[in-house]
Amino acid sequence: MERKLISARCGVINPLSIDDYIKTGGYVALRKALRMERIEILEEISDSKLRGRGGAGFLTSTKMMGLAKESGPMKYIVCNADEGEPGNFKDRFLIENDPHQIIEGMAIIAFATRANHGYIYVRGEYDHAIEVLQWTLLEARKHKFLGNNIMDSDFSFDIELRSGAGSYVCGEEFALIESIEGKPGRTRVKPPFPTSIGLFGKPTLIQNVETLVNIPAILTMGGKAYSKIGMPNCTGTKLISLSGNVKNKGVYEIPFGISIRKVIFELGGGIENNKKLKMVQLGGACGPFIPEYMLDMLIDYERFEEFESKTGAGAIIVVDDRFDLFDLMLRVVRFFEHESCGKCTPCREGHAQLVILLQKFIDKKASMKDLISIESLARVMHQTALCGLGQSSPTAIISTLRYFRDEYIDRCDIWTN
């Protein structure tokens, strides 16, 4: 059921050995790219229908074309390796097991879009991943895959490493840019989008780690062939971070279109300690909770979007029936209350009120009015927050109001209002 397109080397080669990477076909795609016309590379990526793997699922070729169109002497490529959302660990897995792939992907895109400098923004807590990347950058430079005149071509490009101060919101594009610029991580008003005015005011393309490692694979097999993998509008493979009360936790690479149930029960080996599955949180902390009867849903961005959330970083968090729905949601909301950057009203003030309202349900002191309030508040936050954090953090509540509404009503004191 797994389809190892981008994780084939993981656990097989020595990640610190550039020779291992080259022996297994590494940097062949970059060599090929350097001999292609820039527009051909962009067309391959367009043919592949690759979508961003960082959560929003945006068509990668559109963003790349956007950057390619910008003129000007300075353009940046940023690899987003902030991965701060609880339940996600696939970017770390890629960095620690096959780091050269990221560099190769960045270099190809930089060449195709005429970008001249790159950054990898790694989550501050990822000590080992940072060390691996430092070594990898040195090695790549030594072997002329980075720096001036890459592989003796007239193309020059280098990458610097930056690490975050451990705040989740820094994974958001503009907050990340502000953070690299040395300011507190807070988003900006869009538009303009980063591809026109980004890092240090220059056009900037920001892509997730997993998105980038797909680039060498696409160039190697061709965009058309790539687009045959997975689903018609959601092509390729996806790394799934499987965690929670499941037997075999870990990262799995599957083609899009496999059901959630198969991932949990076949790859994951089912529920731990012979417990019963109660629900699953999809995507990560800002994803929806879905009940057991929905597990046959296929993993596909289009389906995920129906949850009023664009969260598809690829986490599956399994919850067995020992857990209380409201305790979990309180934990989720508290996380976002702490991580909110404080800039916009709905997110800054909304989480504090969600905590108060949830606590009422936990204490069985809620009224039907509170049910209406929590629903309305969660929706207003989702519809009006300035950045993706506040827009997606209420997803857990919105989804449980839909699929577990009875549990809310059971906890309401229906005689008061």
Partner: protein, 573 residues
């Protein structure tokens, strides 16, 4: 032109218009809170959201541009519910004790809540009370009222180039505070009050001293004197229901007399005097190889800036006191003698467009007898309008009264002090004639007028051509000051005013000041100048008289003692 539909009305607006402006141009009002014309877009309050067909979430109309065929709803149930919810959220973390707030009835949050029909809040109060910043004589910062709209940060950073205020902390603990300390006095704040003039609520506000003035007015043992700055007469009217740019000099004098002041004088008198002293200082520097360029000193916000951020250029600043302080010094020496009173029994109040003047009046240097402050209390234009409201007069219907003498006869040169470029123009009107011994052909120096950030002119004096420059708002001032500090300034004399537009745009002026307001007030200022019989400071008979009867000569010993001052470095580390 772009065709779109708002609330089922077909509209056609220019490209790149925001939905908010498209609606406003067509008489559809979308409420806003963080939005302020002329300032940068914050888009963080989220009040101005609208529904756009085909779009999932709601969009902020302040930041979304119109597109061909767009269908927008500004009042759908979803939009109204969102606006109401957001406002309730703001109120849940706000000290909403409105009657105890100086911004009561002038508060944008209060009026928004009222418009949205919020009579109770679904959400629990979650305010964690924080200490109030009363560290300085000019401004009070009450974080418990702050709604984190970001306007103050923007004006301080982008208009003033100061960066004093910052959004610190995350999530619910986010707070707008001075970046490196709790209090404005911990930072190189200039007390310009631009932040206060844009704050939609009562979170940054001038230190209200109206009660102190009431007390003095009712103290039988005190003689009360009031002086009125040039910029106040073209702005007070708008706070009291008259059109923007109304000239209300005569009514203002009547109102101050009704309040009970014994003497109502004109700061324009000492503005004329400033021109004489400063003009002579300039000539002295030019002819004696003194430090040049010389920079004006009337603006206390600018002095605060220079002392804290550019101590190395302090010798460039004219030693002349500001007109407010020259007035105070003469009031507590010359005038107390005339009326045979002791300085301790005389109270000098100033009406100023400015919050930094409150700080200036409290400086140690500003005590002519070494004990009493020359100016006892400074009220902003806003505070005066509040006192007049309290007194209960119909300002528009008041008769006109002239200022009292001996500090009542003034010239058009003094009248224009309130507009950016005015001090420079007034000075050149005098310096030209003193040096060239011939009348100035055209006394209106249009090159230094108007709202361009930096303006320049050159004038021939005694056979040499000299260059002069004018800057208003501190971000523009910085450009000129940097040249001075690195020795590349091509100018002989520079005027700097800290507030955009000069004092007519001061931090103590009526709320709602935008570029158009500044323009209207400036226009009124030049009308005043044109209407005056005398338009050059050195022609003022009152000025001639005070030199004859008291001061002796410009830059003389007594002038030096009473009308000049010195500056010192107050750099923060």
């Amino acid at each position: 032109m772009i065709q779109l539909k708002i609330n089922n009305i077909e509209l056609s607006v220019p490209e790149k218009t925001t939905i908010l402006n498209a609606a406003r141009m067509n008489n559809i009002n979308i409420p806003t809170l963080c939005y302020y014309p002329d300032l940068g877009l914050q888009s963080d309050c989220r009040i101005c959201v609208v529904e756009i067909d085909g779009q999932k979430g709601l969009a902020t109309s302040c930041s979304t541009k119109v597109r061909e065929g767009m269908v927008v709803k500004t009042n759908s149930p979803r939009v109204l519910n969102a606006r109401k919810t957001i406002t309730e959220l703001i109120l849940s973390n706000h000290d909403a004790n409105c009657t105890a707030c100086p911004k009561n009835l002038k508060c944008e949050l209060q009026s928004l809540a009222n418009k949205l029909g919020i009579d109770q809040n679904r959400f629990e109060p979650v305010l964690r009370v924080k200490p109030i910043d009363t560290s300085n004589p000019s401004l009070i910062r009450n974080p418990n009222r702050c709604i984190k709209c970001g306007r103050c940060i923007d004006v301080c950073k982008n208009v003033q180039g100061m960066n004093v205020l910052e959004l610190m902390g995350r999530g619910h603990d986010a707070e707008i505070t001075p970046a490196y300390g709790r209090f404005l006095s911990d930072e190189s704040c200039t007390y310009c009050g631009q932040c206060a003039s844009v704050c939609p609520v009562g979170a940054i506000i001038e230190n209200d001293e109206t009660d102190r003035v009431w007390k003095q007015l009712h103290d039988k043992d005190k003689t009360t004197i009031v002086q009125v700055a040039p910029a106040v007469r073209v702005s007070l009217g708008e706070a009291l229901g008259l059109p923007i740019g109304s000239i209300v000099t005569g009514k203002l004098v009547t109102a101050l007399k009704l309040l009970g002041f014994h003497y109502v004088f004109d700061t324009d008198f000492t503005a004329d005097l400033t021109i004489i002293e400063e003009g002579h200082e300039l000539l002295h520097r030019v002819t004696n190889n003194g430090v040049l360029p010389m920079i004006t000193s009337c603006c206390p916000g600018w002095i605060n800036y220079a002392e804290q951020r550019y101590p190395s250029i302090l010798s460039h600043i004219s030693t002349c006191k500001s007109p407010q302080q020259m007035f105070g010094a003469l009031a507590k020496t010359y005038f107390t003698k005339i009326i045979q009173k002791e300085p301790k029994d005389v109270i000098v109040v100033s009406i100023m467009p400015c919050t930094a003047k409150k700080y200036e009046a409290k400086r140690d240097e500003m005590k002519s007898d070494g004990i009493h402050q020359d100016v006892d209390i400074v009220l902003t234009t806003r505070e005066l309008s509040k006192m007049l409201d309290q007194m209960g007069v119909d300002f528009a219907k008041l008769d006109e009264t002239p200022f009292d003498n001996p500090f009542g006869i003034t010239t058009g040169a003094a009248a224009i002090f309130g507009a950016t470029g005015g001090v420079m123009e007034a000075a050149l009107r005098t310096v030209y004639e003193v040096v060239n011994h011939q009348p100035l052909e055209s006394i209106e120096l249009t090159e230094v007028r108007g709202l361009d950030g930096i303006k320049e002119t050159s004038v021939e004096l005694g056979g040499n051509v000299y260059r002069f420059a004018v800057a208003h708002s501190l971000s523009n001032a910085k450009t000129l000051v940097d040249q001075v500090s690195n020795g590349t300034s091509p100018y002989t004399f520079i005027e700097i005013m800290c507030c955009p537009g000069g004092c007519i745009g001061g931090g103590g002026q009526p709320y709602g000041t935008i570029q158009k307001t500044r323009r209207d007030r400036i226009e009124a200022t030049y009308l005043l100048d044109q209407s005056m019989p005398l338009r050059k400071s050195h022609e003022s008979p009152a000025v001639k008289e005070i030199y004859r009867a008291f001061l002796g000569e410009p830059l003389g010993e007594l002038s030096h003692k009473l009308l000049h001052t010195h500056y010192h470095s107050r750099q923060h580390t």
